[in-house]
């Protein structure tokens, strides 16, 4: 994604110039998903496959492969959802195989190191263990002798850095995790699921895992805060796990009856585009229905209309 500075001026300009046409397009976003005439388009890969790992690999391949996002020598932060003391079947955390497959792709492109962590909601140890992610990542690292490059660890209070967020919509400063601030690339690996306040949670909301402090307060202006976080810590690639989807009682769930098999994965360099497509495909929701996605589009964080999205299915 766009590095710091003032990266969104062109889009803003286009949006403004589009005028009424843009507004009209935004109001009837889905369908169709047509390439915007003359505008810059963003690819979103939608992959179907039998296993979580295959889905992850296919989705990333559809948008150009991991080489388009991670370069040799990069320090990568891989941010799955490990928020809850739940098993993979309960669909509250990213599937462990999915996480490992993405990590493997990063390493294959020569990433110097891949750090996996999340600031959890339940006890961190229980979340890491029962999500299956700790075990899967450590096992993979052992088996392939990459223990030094691929590490999963718990967040530590001392590594949260008070960070100012220029041009913030809502949070002018917040404690963010040092490793995420210092990483060369951030690969965002959320799971798609129901969320009570936000409606659904996908790529945008997953990045709350790098935030310290009293995150509950974020909820009071969730859409604005998410935009601020993503502006400050841009994500290089978002790969959404939609193998199993928790459709009720999210984000924590628990009841297997609330989990529906969906068998897909979504990938994009633009987190907003990924979320727009996933919201539509999985939940039949338009950005207008999901406050934080709508806000992200409006604020120019990524695509500002569905018309800018090019869908690549496979």
């Amino acid at each position: 994604m766009n590095p710091g500075g003032c990266p969104f001026s062109r889009r803003r300009f286009l949006q403004a110039a589009g005028g009424a046409a843009g507004a009209l397009a935004a109001s009837v976003l889905f369908p169709p998903l047509l390439p915007a005439a003359g505008g810059k388009t963003v690819d979103v890969g939608v992959a179907s496959a039998a296993s979580p790992a295959e889905r992850a690999r296919k989705a990333v391949a559809l948008v150009g492969g991991m080489k388009s996002f991670v370069s040799r020598g990069d320090v990568v932060v891989l941010k799955p959802n490990i928020g809850w003391d739940r098993t993979p079947e309960q669909g509250a955390n990213t599937d462990p195989e999915f996480v490992v497959a993405v990590a493997e792709m990063c390493l294959a492109e020569g990433a110097r190191s891949v750090h996996v962590f999340d600031r959890t909601c339940n006890d961190a140890r229980r979340c890491y263990v029962n999500s299956g992610i700790k075990d899967a990542v450590e096992q993979f690292a052992r088996k392939n002798r990459v223990e030094n490059a691929l590490r999963i660890y718990h967040v530590e209070d001392r590594k949260f850095v008070r960070t100012s967020i220029p041009n913030a919509l809502s949070i002018k400063e917040w404690d963010l995790y040092r490793d995420a601030l210092e990483a060369d690339k951030i690969v965002n690996v959320p799971i798609a699921k129901h969320h009570s306040l936000a409606g659904i949670t996908l790529g945008l909301k997953n990045m709350m895992g790098i935030m310290g402090g009293n995150r509950g307060q974020i909820h009071q202006r969730l859409p604005e805060c998410l935009v601020d976080i993503h502006r400050r810590v841009p994500v290089a690639l978002t790969v959404i796990d939609a193998g199993r989807v928790l459709v009720r009682n999210g984000p924590s769930g628990g009841n297997l009856a609330d989990v529906k098999p969906f068998g897909k994965a979504f990938a994009s360099r633009d987190v907003v585009a990924a979320d727009v497509v996933a919201a539509e495909k999985i939940f039949r929701l338009s950005p207008r229905d999901v406050g934080h996605i709508g806000k992200a589009m409006e604020s120019g964080l990524g695509v500002s209309s569905g018309a800018q999205i090019r869908l690549i299915e496979g």
Partner: protein, 516 residues
């Protein structure tokens, strides 16, 4: 003849290391079931076992090891205090370091030894009439409670601060300090800094016990410890006794002046077998090598420092205090914030059995179990209370029931634990942000762990303070589903008092009814 003393010292070190090992493993280590009997020391304690059995009016299967200790003491004598008590080991270690050069002869009268018996009879009588407060004086309870609530958190704090400082230090310092820190973190330090109510108070009491060593060696064990008193009474006819071959004795008096328990009295050949803890010092230092510990017949033991009047008076006092506690008003109107751990027995039985050892607080994964001050009355001091603003009860965790040494907290299978109500949450509608039209929130609903959420929201119109009508998602509690785990109260973003709170209403242990 120094080998037996060396053995005794090795035993004390070994026991303390075992104690430390079990203490450090009283923690969630990526495993839902604790692999060791981390509560072993408490279950070996005959005083605690006896008091809980008497006061709780129930045979407690968990404490069978205490019976073994009692029988061994009857056969061998009061070896426990010299060889096996972890508090005794700590006291001896402090004596050998801090007070190494302090001269302490006769600072405290020998007659003070009788107080431990008076305390014992007092506690026994009150336990007999259902009031159990052995925890105030039981050495094992004191030690584990102190380590849990004060010593370990303080140590953890100091180490954390130190390594955080080094971490921020310039140059190569972090390269050296960080690997050490990593090692400490995986083997010794707490996962997160534990905090406890009463920690300073508990720590000071413990320092008092150690400081008393400055007046007299083994001050606590000689004069105050009721477990020592019990073992003295049980063990004074034990077979393993100090003997002197009087023919070779020069009456130099070295053994008498060196005895840490003042168990050698008047005539150096006379031993108070109830007071002798078999430390073997006298045998090791005797220049003539005429002191032995053996099962052979020896002199009759010295008389116990007990009078019939003393026994009767202390026992009567113990019994008389009970009704005062039974007319305390908290029995009728319990503190609504007194949330007990999942699987806790009904209040009366719970207090009768609870040893106040702090094992449940030590193991509580979210640090939510805290010692009470007076929420359960003076009688209930240091018993566990869930303080949700500090930490909540983790939905899939059953650890507190696994470590309770007397079954005051039952060991619940996970499916039953998930349905056990600690209380019920309610929404303070005068503070809740959506309810007062202040902001969106619903963090409580997000975290609610029951599989069908016990906190639901409804979208309702509310007038904001600016006068404008807006739709807010307002939380409601489904009391059939709520288990009172308190995560909503912990996570409520209001920083002082939460707008969603748990009270003990509907707790399973009182209603006896399981939730759906």
């Amino acid at each position: 003849m120094k080998t037996t003393r060396t053995l005794r010292r090795a035993s004390q070190w070994g026991v303390f290391l075992l104690f430390a090992f079990l203490f450090l493993n009283t923690e969630y280590k990526d495993n839902d079931v604790l692999p060791y009997a981390v509560n072993l020391f408490l279950r070996l304690d005959p005083l605690m076992a006896g008091a809980a059995t008497l006061a709780g009016r129930a045979l407690i299967g968990l404490v069978w090891p205490a019976l073994v200790v009692a029988l061994l003491t009857a056969v061998l004598g009061r070896f426990f205090c010299g060889w096996f008590c972890p508090l005794g080991a700590v006291i001896d270690a402090v004596d050998a370091t801090v007070f190494r050069k302090v001269r302490r002869r006769d600072a405290v009268l020998v007659s003070w030894r009788r107080y431990k018996f008076l305390i014992l009879f007092f506690l026994a009588a009150s336990s007999l009439f259902t009031l159990q407060w052995v925890f105030l004086f039981d050495p094992i309870s004191i030690l584990i409670r102190t380590f849990t609530v004060s010593v370990f958190p303080a140590l953890n704090f100091v180490l954390h601060r130190t390594f955080d400082g080094l971490y921020r230090a310039p140059g190569p310092i972090p390269w050296i300090s960080e690997p050490v820190y990593g090692l400490l973190k995986s083997h010794f330090l707490a996962f997160e800094q534990p905090v406890f109510r009463t920690s300073a108070f508990v720590g000071l009491l413990f320092l008092g016990i150690l400081a008393a060593e400055g007046y007299q060696r083994r001050f606590w064990c000689r004069n105050l410890c009721p477990l020592g008193g019990l073992l003295a009474l049980v063990g004074r006819f034990g077979l393993f006794r100090r003997r002197i071959t009087e023919a070779g004795c020069t009456r130099c008096g070295l053994c008498e002046s060196d005895c840490r328990m003042a168990a050698i009295g008047g005539d150096v050949a006379v031993t108070d077998h109830g007071e002798c803890i078999g430390c073997m010092d006298c045998q090791a230092i005797c220049p003539e090598e005429v002191i032995h510990f053996s099962g052979k017949e020896g002199r009759k033991p010295a008389a116990v420092d007990l009078t019939r009047r003393g026994v009767l008076a202390s026992a009567a006092l113990g019994a008389v205090t009970v009704p005062f506690f039974r007319v305390e008003a908290y029995g009728k109107a319990q503190d609504p914030l007194l949330i007990r751990p999942p699987g806790a027995l009904p209040e009366r039985e719970f207090l009768a059995r609870c040893t106040r050892c702090g094992e449940c607080m030590r193991v509580c994964i979210a640090n939510g179990l805290q010692p009470t001050w007076f929420e359960a009355g003076i009688e209930g001091m240091w018993s566990p209370i869930l303080v949700s603003r500090i930490g909540y009860c983790e939905f899939n965790c059953t650890l507190c029931g696994q470590v309770c040494p007397t079954g005051a907290i039952r060991r619940l299978p996970l499916p039953e634990k998930r349905k056990t109500k600690l209380g019920l949450a309610y929404v303070d509608r005068s503070r809740c942000l959506p309810w007062v039209g202040q902001a969106d929130c619903i963090v409580c609903e997000e975290h609610c762990p029951t599989w069908s959420k016990a906190i639901v929201f409804r979208e309702e119109r509310t007038r904001t303070i600016g006068g404008e009508w807006r739709i807010f998602k307002k939380p409601y509690i489904d009391e059939d589903l709520c288990v009172g785990c308190g995560i909503c109260e912990t996570k409520c973003p209001l920083t002082d008092r939460a707008a969603v709170l748990v009270t003990s209403r509907g707790e399973t242990r009182s209603t006896g009814v399981l939730a759906r």
